[in-house]
């Protein structure tokens, strides 16, 4: 790579970043237009999980940490949406914007501490945040309506065919933003912070600023996923905040591949397709199969399904090899 970036390079970068989101949106429109209502529903599920996985890709792939707390971001966005509409009679659009802003602010506050702690402490803090959120959601009955939850009303323009398309567009924008960010100078500096924080700090980079921005961005993406998720389900309850979605998001990233945002989409597609392939079996067996896939893919495919693709096309880079930790 030359030191100077010409406008042509920049245009090529933007073009490369635009291809996957554009295809995604077009395919979703085609599915909604020509497919059955069931396939439109499936594509919406895919979008929700792909957005959640993209949000966790920022943490796992770009920040190099493990978060067990993204269910809290997902669910609290749903709660803000539902409470704003239910108690304060806000319109859906306004409540959705409010939900994304509120959860983004929450992630920014969390990031003040999260940007400065690492590894185990980071994982434990997110775990505790999620656990506390579940208990608050199920017990603060005056605000969250306890185990019963709150229904989310849909305005007239939000039908079962417009919602998948809106979701796909939102996903496309988020994916495009991530791709551009990854290829930018800022993104490369953030990668340097992830690979060697003391070294990047010695070069005058302020690591915590990069880490803080990534955590906040990840929270915003999870909030967008949460708004779509609760508009899809039409209800939020303590289970939307739970560990289930935190761990599913993490699973998608690890199974799909953590070195590239496309891995998040691949993982989500796998997760949405699996229950359809195994419709005869009970949900318990499905979880067991998914856990087995997770274990085997970590053991045999450290770069996930996306890594298989990269291997086939010969595009695996030295930097993408399994990160080995130095001695103690």
């Amino acid at each position: 790579m030359s030191a100077q970036t010409t406008p042509r390079d920049r245009a090529a970068r933007v073009g490369a970043s635009l291809s996957l989101p554009a295809v995604y949106v077009l395919v979703t429109i085609a599915i909604v237009a020509f497919g059955s209502p069931f396939s439109a529903q499936l594509s919406l599920n895919l979008t929700v999980f792909a957005l959640l996985a993209l949000s966790l890709h920022i943490i796992v792939g770009m920040l190099g940490e493990v978060s067990f707390g993204h269910g809290a971001f997902l669910g609290s966005a749903g709660y803000v949406l539902a409470i704003a509409m239910d108690r304060f009679d806000y319109s859906f659009g306004l409540a959705a914007v409010l939900a994304v802003l509120a959860v983004g602010a929450f992630a920014a506050v969390f990031g003040c501490v999260g940007a400065r702690i690492h590894h185990v402490q980071f994982a434990m803090l997110t775990f505790a945040m999620n656990g506390a959120a579940v208990i608050v959601a199920s017990n603060a009955r005056g605000v969250t309506n306890g185990e019963i939850g709150i229904t989310v009303g849909r305005p007239d323009w939000l039908t079962s065919s417009s919602l998948p398309i809106i979701g796909a567009v939102a996903f496309g924008v988020c994916y495009f933003a991530i791709s551009v960010l990854r290829r930018s100078t800022w993104g490369r500096t953030a990668a340097a912070v992830r690979e060697n924080e003391p070294l990047s700090e010695s070069l005058g980079v302020k690591p915590w600023k990069y880490r803080h921005a990534l955590i906040t961005l990840s929270g915003v993406f999870a909030a967008v996923a949460g708004v779509l998720f609760s508009a899809n389900l039409r209800i939020v309850g303590p289970s939307s905040v739970g560990f289930y979605y935190s761990s599913v998001g993490l699973l998608l990233v690890v199974v799909g591949g953590r070195s590239h945002p496309a891995g998040a989409v691949i993982g989500a597609a796998f997760f949405v397709a699996l229950p359809e392939l195994l419709r005869e079996t009970s949900s318990t067996v499905q979880i067991a199969i998914f856990a087995t896939v997770l274990i085997l893919s970590i053991k045999y495919l450290p770069l996930g399904l996306h890594g298989v693709w990269q291997n086939l096309t010969g595009r695996v880079r030295a930097s993408a090899a399994r990160p080995q930790r130095l001695v103690n």
């Binding site: 796992v60 190099g64 493990v66 501490v113 400065r116 702690i117 590894h119 185990v120 402490q121 994982a123 434990m124 803090l125 775990f127 505790a128 945040m129 656990g131 506390a132 208990i135 608050v136 199920s138 017990n139 761990s247 993490l250 699973l251 690890v254 953590r258 009970s282 318990t284 067996v285 979880i287 067991a288 998914f290 856990a291 087995t292 997770l294 274990i295 970590i298 053991k299 450290p302 399994r322 990160p323 080995q324 930790r325 001695v327 103690n328």
Partner: protein, 296 residues
């Protein structure tokens, strides 16, 4: 009040026992074992299964603990050993094991809670306090187990290797410590400690496939509070958590009590974090002052 403190201390000994396995594993492998709660659950399941063969309860507990330890060592050898050096992969694979174990147990034993055989009935009285006999025995066994663990770690050859591996991996490997075998033994030992806690404390309530999850959260809080990787610190922190929880029963309504462990976990991370940040801030100021003096 005194009654609650006594109950809390004894309950806390059990928490310390469950968490000491997690601390031991973290100390050597630097990996968070998300399946630790499931080893607790398997300890209780082992007790249930072996008791149906007509064995006395204490023998069933011993067999269950041995089985859980063996299972932990085998799982580690087959699945975790190859990926343990990658922090994210190590954590996720133990999470996958936890998911797999819970769903398999749910599939084969069903969702109905089952009563567990109890080692003893009645209450133990001393000085006006009454503690369930079961808890008292659990506390006593926990103390015996931690003393046993301590003497194993300090007196035996394997214990020496475990301590060496925990304090300096490269130094230990250079001095000829078989690192893979040490890791396998450590993981099996950690699993067995959680299984023992499950077989001792589990009979307080019913057996379900999900009984491990709250214990995992409590173990995390205890391990972080006790200083990561220190089995002795975990015991002290376990007692602290037990007492806090027992006291919270008097002040907090039903569902809120689970919050104690999470608040403790968040608080101990924040305290560690602010100590580091404060030291850093102070260092900068200190250097600034020296520089000002030199230039003046």
């Amino acid at each position: 009040m005194m009654q609650q403190v006594v109950t809390g201390v004894i309950l806390g000994l059990g928490y310390g026992l469950a968490a000491s396995g997690l601390a031991l594993i973290f100390g050597v492998m630097r990996v968070i074992n998300f399946a630790q709660g499931e080893f607790y659950m398997l300890g209780a399941l082992g007790l249930l299964i072996f008791a149906t063969f007509g064995l006395p309860t204490w023998a069933a507990i011993l067999l269950a603990v041995a089985a859980v330890g063996l299972l932990g060592a085998l799982l580690f050898r087959w699945l975790i050993l190859d990926v343990v050096d990658d922090e994210i992969a190590g954590l996720m694979i133990t999470y996958g094991i936890s998911l797999l174990v819970v769903s398999l147990v749910l599939e084969f034993r069903g969702a109905t809670p089952e009563p567990l055989p109890r080692l003893a009935e009645g209450v133990f009285r001393f000085g006006g306090n009454a503690v369930p006999m079961l808890l008292t025995i659990a506390g006593a066994v926990a103390v015996a187990a931690i003393l046993g663990l301590h003497s194993f770690l300090t007196r035996s050859g394997m214990g020496l290797m475990i301590r060496a591996a925990a304090s300096n991996r490269m130094g230990a490997e250079v001095s000829g410590v078989p690192f893979a075998r040490t890791q396998i033994v450590t993981f099996g030992l950690g699993a067995a400690l959680a299984g023992l806690a499950g077989a001792l404390l589990g009979p307080q309530a019913f057996f379900t496939s999900e009984m491990g999850a709250p214990i995992l959260a409590k173990s995390f809080a205890v391990v972080v509070l006790g200083g990561l990787g220190s089995a002795r610190g975990a015991f002290v922190a376990g007692i602290a958590l037990g007492v806090l929880e027992a006291l919270a029963v008097g002040y907090a309504p039903g569902g809120w009590q689970g919050l104690v462990a999470y608040i403790l976990l968040i608080a101990s991370i924040l305290i560690a974090f602010s100590r580091v940040e404060f030291a850093r801030w102070w260092r900068r100021r200190g250097i600034g002052r020296v520089a000002a003096k030199v230039s003046a």
